[in-house]
Amino acid sequence: MTQFVMKEEVEKNDSSNAEKPIKKVSIIISKGSLDAVYPGLIMGNGARMEGIEATLFFTFFGLEAIIDKKMDKLKVPTVGNPAMHIPTMVGGLPGMSSFATKKMKDEMEKLDIPPVREFIEMIHDTGAEIYACKATVDMFHLDKGDFCEQVDDIITVGEFYEKSAGAEIIFT
């Protein structure tokens, strides 16, 4: 039987306060613009790629990313974001947001980052769980049928914390 031992591992195990690898993450996605949704999706997928358990919890406008009729239409806002470097008055012109969205989507496709719907399917297929926030679902008068099929359940904040036992919670 072969035993593989890395020098670094031996050294790490020797020290008592060794850094423990992350085993589980709970990612909250709370905003509904394209640029706000992707970081959570990339981190969720990236966690699974590293063998880390992942739970995604969509709340408030973040729900747009899992609402069947809306998830393909998320946009990049062009006003109120100084990092876009577009003057507010120009950013507010009709079509600006669609233009910025198209540019961003083209760039992401080049990097092999899938569109939101495909990304949600992919993340769910990796074994990650996807939940919608009950308070928001009630507030927006939605039900399970409004969501894409990958949504595992609509849960309360209490249930979210139960499911996050032992997880690092990441709010986006």
Binding site: T2, V5, E8, I42, P114, M122, D125
Partner: protein, 105 residues
Amino acid sequence: MSTETRNEKVVKLDADGHLANREEWTKELAQEFANHEGVGVLTDRHWVVINYIRDEFEKKGDAPSIRKLTKESGVSTKELYKLFPKGPAKKAAKIAGLPKPKGCI
């Protein structure tokens, strides 16, 4: 740089624990990596993935993204995670004798 001993033969690994010299890779070594990674006996389906990422690495200089892999190799995301539990991209690359993938997706 670290080394490991297997039946008197020493195989050098890089800092990530992947094979340091790609030329040393053999199918037998792939199986040994698979055992060590908890993947178990490599099946034909594992080899579809391993051969595909080796081909892609040969052409592009990096392992493909999981999205590209699942689209082009015919192995679905679900199956991929079953074949290489706990980190398919890294494990498949390691078994294939390639460095740790650089991509985020």
